[in-house]
Symmetry: C2
Subunit: 317 residues, 2 copies
């Protein structure tokens, strides 16, 4: 990477955890040096509206609108529209706030008018004052589908409706074979001097991105410094079902397990201080371990972790 | 009409004024004796959602959800979704509350799933506990278009965006030639023992209904007792731009002017006590005048006027 002042960073992210590190990166890097590519495997239609949970979490986080308590949705949002939809007979198990509904209404309208999801995302994030590029992984639909002991479930059905309860047997990314990286993602893949895997769920957030044709190969053979931050700390996910799913799919639920998932895709794995003992195992997988605090509670934590990641990139040159 | 206990009433209505009398009728007549046919010439797409202002006003009025102060929308509704849509760059001159949005979201979803507007309306009104039939005039789009000195405007552009300011030169009902009465309207036309023209705008609410092919002829030649309530009292509309538009189109702005608009369609015109002096003029148009209080402020007023209308029907047998 050509010095702290010049190199381009491609960050790959899912929802809440990924958005935290992305916020830190965005506080340090100017817009022209950062592209944030977001998983859209969780996208789903609710009430006839196109909902993009991870894009929205990223958008709300970077715009400062996000709900710090829940991690999703807009801070202080009300739920009148959803309550009325329930009265009107709609199946309303997915929580959508009134301000949040505006995002989905506007996105759906612009998509129906013929804009791509990339164009719509650029429009919506720009309107909320975000200067950094947030781009969907693809403009074509890719949907994460889980085979579970409660049947075939979409990501949101699994995560929200069933509260991540059913055991996961396998995961596929429907539609991936007909998708391609979004223009912003393709450009970032070409020009990146560093690739950062944010601390997101390897199977539900990062794997859908890797499932887009050409992405895995491009990253496997990339000359950029590639750094991942483990979403698994102390034997479980910092948040969400990543640990549970890794275990159900037969992986070791640890930063070492994450290292194995990302083998060939990453050069450096950032793991939490409490997992320092796993450093040798991570080296044995062929990755350089980097130990630091990875728990991001405050914005300062997010900026500090982002700074550490960028320093690792610098020192790897 | 076969007695107060048996005859069927078809009520034709637009928005607020019409909904008031319809509420009175619904408080007196059991569901099997009343069909309320509502103008859909005001329907418009906002934010990609199908909004049916008159159907909604009728629905909110009969369900008790309506805002008594404004006449439109849901009582106590909030406006978070619309405020956010404005932030996101949407053109948000048409006021839509959060609960109101739920109606439009659900309607749009069900229409996109292939239901007709009649089916959707039946579903939504049923969910809100309304037992009486509220039916759109047609399941095909008919749009009221005004040629004004500010250009060609849709009904909502004229009424809301331009606050009914521009002078109206002519009005047409686009799409009417390809429309047909909704199934519920067609059935009510066949079986009605009485037809009530609620006190709605003759040009913007009743004329679109008459523009649906076959309706004007069916009512002109109908054997039912046909009673209209004048929306013009004391030389102006009780509410809205009906008076202004009648004047601009060269009609007399009075109950007598209304009688002329409905010539051949109605047998009885109910006019307000303050217009009693117009009775002879109304007789000269070929209609029977009936003088009573037509200003409906309380629910009791609405029921009283509905009772008077039904008594006129009875006495005409």
């Amino acid at each position: 990477m050509s010095g702290a002042s010049g190199g381009k960073v491609l960050a790959l992210a899912g929802g809440v955890g990924g958005a935290k590190l992305a916020l830190g990166l965005a506080r340090i890097l100017p817009p022209e040096r950062l592209t944030i590519v977001v998983n859209t495997g969780d996208d789903e239609e609710f009430h006839g509206l196109h909902v993009s949970p991870d894009l929205d979490t990223m958008t709300y986080t970077l715009s400062g609108w996000y709900n710090r308590e829940t991690g999703w949705g807009v801070a202080g949002d009300s739920f009148e529209t959803l309550a009325m939809l329930k009265r009107l007979g709609a199946d309303a198990w997915f929580n959508l706030g009134d301000r949040d509904f505006a995002m989905h209404i506007r996105r759906t309208q612009l998509l129906r008018q013929g804009m791509t999801l990339s164009q719509v995302t650029s429009e919506l994030t720009g309107r909320l004052g975000i200067e950094h590029c947030i781009v969907p992984m693809s403009d074509q639909p890719v949907r994460t589908v889980l085979e579970t002991d409660a049947g075939t479930l979409s990501m949101q059905e699994y995560f929200v409706k069933h509260r991540a309860g059913p055991a996961v047997r396998s995961i596929r990314y429907a539609g991936a074979e007909n998708a391609e990286p979004s223009p912003g993602f393709a450009e970032a893949l070409r020009s990146a001097d560093a690739i950062v895997f944010c601390p997101s769920n390897p199977h539900l957030s990062v794997a859908p991105i890797m499932a887009v044709p050409g992405v895995r190969d491009a990253i496997s053979g990339h000359m950029a410094c590639r750094v991942a931050v483990s979403p698994i700390v102390g034997g479980d996910a910092v948040r969400g079902p990543a640990g549970k799913i890794m275990g159900e799919l037969g992986a070791e639920v640890s930063a070492a397990g994450v290292a194995r998932e990302y083998r060939g895709l990453c050069d450096v794995l950032v793991l939490d201080t409490q997992d320092a003992a796993l450093s040798d195992t991570i080296r044995s997988v062929g990755m350089t371990p980097a130990v630091t605090n990875t728990i991001m509670q405050t914005d300062d934590d997010k900026i500090a972790l982002a700074r550490t990641v960028l320093q690792l990139v610098e020192s790897a040159e």
